[in-house]
Symmetry: D2
Subunit: 181 residues, 4 copies
């Protein structure tokens, strides 16, 4: 089966989209199947209980929920906005968690983060861990925070630094082994 | 000057909107001026760096930023979605923080939370405190988490329980005194 | 092999010691072997880098480290002091983490919490999860916060409420299955 | 009146003791009075409810509580152990919080952190902020995390880097102004 990779940002040139795609490439080199999906392709409004009551769960949310449900495991790369996860990612979490049973429940998940600063999204990953734990997901203890993300990728979206590639590959190996996938 | 009251939810019948309005009513009874604003009235898309780069900060975001900037202090009541603040509120924070200088900076802020469960949004308030601290806001240490929020308000939106009214009024008095407004 | 049960408090009559012992009793009823250890029996000073440099790791710390290393999984019940884990538990974590390789590394761990208040140690469990994740432990997403702990146990230290017994037993079953022990 | 400076570590050569002393030196250069106290001079056991019940609050705890009570404001520099505050500091917090009324209540507090790594105690400061907020303290939003602390001080315990001195002095000025002391 497959691992689902996505990023918690919408911007086309997002470092976190690149980071998630690199993780997919390395997972494939380890013999695993996977798929990258772009949140931009899942149309969803801001969560509004009135919208849910009158129109139900939007089609874009359902589609994302199905992709999550079908996956054996998740790898999510996220930017840090104001010391926490992005409103974009939180909104997707909030919407998808309204599907019953919750597609998040019991998913093995690896969290990654990329940020332009020196800290590599560390505070964001802290919040994310608590939120995803609360959703019943098995969040892998290891993570990788990529600092100075604007300089980290070449024009093909590959990590330039061989050490970072090794770090990410090693992390994926441990995650895959732990998740038993 | 005035205290700005708002809630981190869109739903018309939101308990947090009621809670914020009750706080306004009690602040006025203490002789303070204030204003309730509804996030629903500030049109804003999900944050997208491409949108910002091509079109700048949306008008709804600017309008909310101006209301925050003009206020002497903020009282924000927030729902707990998946153990953290709502995507709706986080998205508003993320967008408004893109205005330079940041309207959030240095604002005295009181955090409230209402939730249908027994915990009264306590985990959400924990995350919110970290996020708002990081935005340079002076977050008041005290808070009030309103549990079982669906039963807490009468048909006019007033808190039914006199003890809860006393608790909120006392909290507002301490906050107003501390903020020096 | 065995599951190690302990509590993050020293007091003889600690509700968390009772809670950990109840968890042991229920794990045994599920056919698992386990052992309860009392932090009071592991003599350890407050962590002091000078003491470590001059005298090495204290005997009590080594003994606790060996018990953790020998266990297949951990069940830790902890009190909430000032919204976080107790100094007693943190001090034990800090000392044991000085043993190389770290006995904590890779342990499947279930966190429990008992508190006299209404919240059931929820904020403490939040901090604990972050700390234990950072130690490389596999912290089970599920937990059980026991509120009003002073009234929860009978004179033999058993939970009075059959529903709480069911809840704890069900949680242990899920944890044991997930940990593969 | 005076600002009380202390560090959350016992080791004699602790970087955090140096950081707290530097903060005192700079506060004095701003015309403020202050005092550095060393937790090593306040004898206190690990918190134990049985000890408290049989012997009351230990003399070392009372003495520290009096120093805190007498201060107009606190500046605390803390190491990060296992992603959170040290057991030593948490134990001191837990003990002092048992004094009624709590010496912590309503104190303006500036948090600092020094660590040998690249992150400058950032996760520790996150936990500390939540704990101190819960104690009713007014934790200043700004902070300073000193990374690579082993190289940061000269043989007289002064910060070597003039930019770091400026940063700390500027932070102290803002804190003093905000606290109104």
């Amino acid at each position: 089966m497959a691992i689902l990779f996505f990023a918690g940002a919408l911007r086309t040139d997002s470092s976190n989209k690149k980071f998630a795609r690199e993780a997919l490439r390395l997972a494939e080199s380890l013999g695993k199947k996977g798929q990258f999906v772009d949140l931009r392709d899942y149309d969803m409004p801001l969560y509004d209980g009135d919208v849910e009551a009158s129109s139900g769960i939007p089609a874009g949310v359902k589609k994302l929920g199905e992709a999550i449900l079908a996956a054996d495991a998740l790898v999510i790369s996220m930017p840090e906005y104001n010391s926490s996860i992005s409103g974009v990612l939180k909104n997707a979490l909030d919407w998808v968690s309204r599907i019953k049973p919750s597609p998040w429940d019991g998913k093995h998940t690896l969290l990654l983060g990329a940020s332009p600063g020196a800290m590599g999204a560390i505070r964001c990953l802290y919040h994310a861990r608590q939120i995803f734990d609360a959703l019943g997901m098995y969040v892998f203890p290891g993570t990788m925070g990529l600092a100075k993300s604007y300089e980290a990728f070449d024009e093909n979206g590959k990590l330039k630094d061989e050490k970072q590639i090794q770090q990410l590959q090693s992390l994926l190996e441990k995650f895959i082994k732990h998740a038993g996938i």
